[in-house]
Symmetry: C2
Subunit: 289 residues, 2 copies
């Protein structure tokens, strides 16, 4: 009996540089959805690679980046934003000419600009991505093949990026279940400053400003509002520094709204205060739990 | 065969004014823990009373406050902070002399001061309480007999409050499973400004300041940080107005910390930024998920 015919996977070999939560989840999703024949995991330490192998997120694992990407059709760099530019350089030097590259960094403008600055000498084809699907958990032990399903991934082609390349990267994330938006890298950073990076500053400021002696009197509200302050300080410092302008603008809008609330409280203007709180509730209710 | 001997419940008749989430949970917990022979629910509308009866949170339900408290040994006023002073007056006029009264309001200084101002003419004995066990859900349908278990309730005696009265109210909340702290009302308000009221202003300011066009790009971080902004604008306006001074002080501390974070970001001072984010993470980690 012949085996039933199966289409070849669109990216026979996918290499993932950085096998943490996001990289591991890309591997699991790519395998579960039969997008790759082989997933190669590349990491800095045997520990993280063994965890990714144990989780079934990758088929083979190596600390040798050049060897790991040597036969890749698609390379996903899933590392902290400050390390992505150098990793892209190394991947580009070692992967076959024409290989598609993307990343999963939380900022896009500087990463894309760094690639574009030397576009003419690149061997591979890079299009930036940001799957908006984080977690405060870390490591491939927490990886989830459905992490991207029903969530948004932003793909950020540069002006010179061929539409076919942007589409190919968009198709990859779509195939992992994501809803894909395309936009210029700077617009991505401006938006994410409002929806993710400024909220991190706010949560951290609230946590750090709460006197230790009062912590026994916190409840669900404080815990929700400060939850993301538990994120990795090094990773978040790099994100915030890389999007300093966007964060500053978003924090100005936030501070202006906080001032309006505080002014209404100080004046005892209940009608105005209810109006502002109702506006906040309307926005919050629109997003859902 | 004789029925086994059972001790009388410490508060034979408990009346609860306001049968929402908190009032309903007090009723459920008092019945489950056999603290009351009879729980009387008093509400403004038949709808809320019928819901409390259906939930099993109260044994009898009435819109007649005077009649409802006429035989009460303990009355719990579980209503919005702006309505508590007037409700206490009405309860005091109708309950038997010597009845213990408490409330469950999120602010304490003005409520306790209002009672104390006319202490000499009071018939009952009031001690303020704040069970720190809210939820963004509302109504007795969401009531939970374990809502107070393992959580903190603050009991706020005034200077003239007899220790025995404060202890009796503390014992009640302890019997519902709460960890009870006693402190002066003003200290309660100062602490809760930091742990609950300022976080509400912050969450509301962030939600209201986030441009609508960016909401599709929110993820778990934004949703956590803004969750309490979905709370009832009228109830929260009253809380914030009643604790305006405390909220202002807590927001100054928050704004100062946000300024320090933003200054480090603007200067590109990574070491300082990591240090501040680490401090925030330390505080957040100390509280737990």
């Amino acid at each position: 009996m012949k085996a039933p015919w199966q289409p070849s996977p669109p990216w026979p070999t996918v290499a993932i540089v950085g096998v943490g939560l996001i990289g591991g989840s890309v591997g699991l999703a790519a395998k579960a959805r039969r997008l790759a024949r082989r997933v190669v995991g590349i990491g800095r330490t045997r520990g993280s690679l063994d965890a990714a192998l144990a989780r079934g997120a990758v088929d083979v694992a190596t600390t040798d980046l050049a060897g790991g990407v040597a036969e890749a059709d698609l390379v996903v760099v899933a590392a902290g934003v400050s390390t992505i530019p150098a990793l892209l350089e190394r991947v580009d030097a070692a992967a076959p000419p024409g290989t598609l590259l993307t990343d999963a960094g939380s900022t896009k403008a500087s990463i894309v600009a760094g690639w574009e600055r030397r576009r003419r000498t690149r061997r591979g084809r890079f299009v930036g991505s940001h799957p908006i699907a984080g977690s405060h958990r870390r490591g491939s032990a927490a990886a989830d093949g459905d992490l991207f399903a029903g969530r948004v991934t932003v793909v950020t082609p540069a002006r010179a990026t061929p539409a076919a390349d942007a589409d190919a990267i968009g198709d990859f994330w779509s195939a992992l279940g994501a809803t894909v938006f395309m936009m210029p890298p700077k617009e991505h950073d401006r938006i994410l400053a409002a929806t993710s990076h400024a909220p991190h500053v706010i949560a951290a400021a609230l946590a750090a400003a709460t006197p230790e002696a009062t912590l026994a009197f916190t409840a669900g509200g404080w815990r929700d509002t400060t939850r993301i302050a538990a994120g990795d300080p090094e990773l978040w410092a790099d994100i915030l520094l890389d999007n300093a302008g966007g964060v500053g603008d978003a924090m100005k809008r936030f501070a202006g709204m906080a001032e309006r609330l505080l002014a209404a409280i100080a004046r005892g203007d209940r009608r105005r205060l209810v109006d502002l709180l109702s506006r906040a509730k309307g926005t919050r209710d629109a997003v859902g739990s």
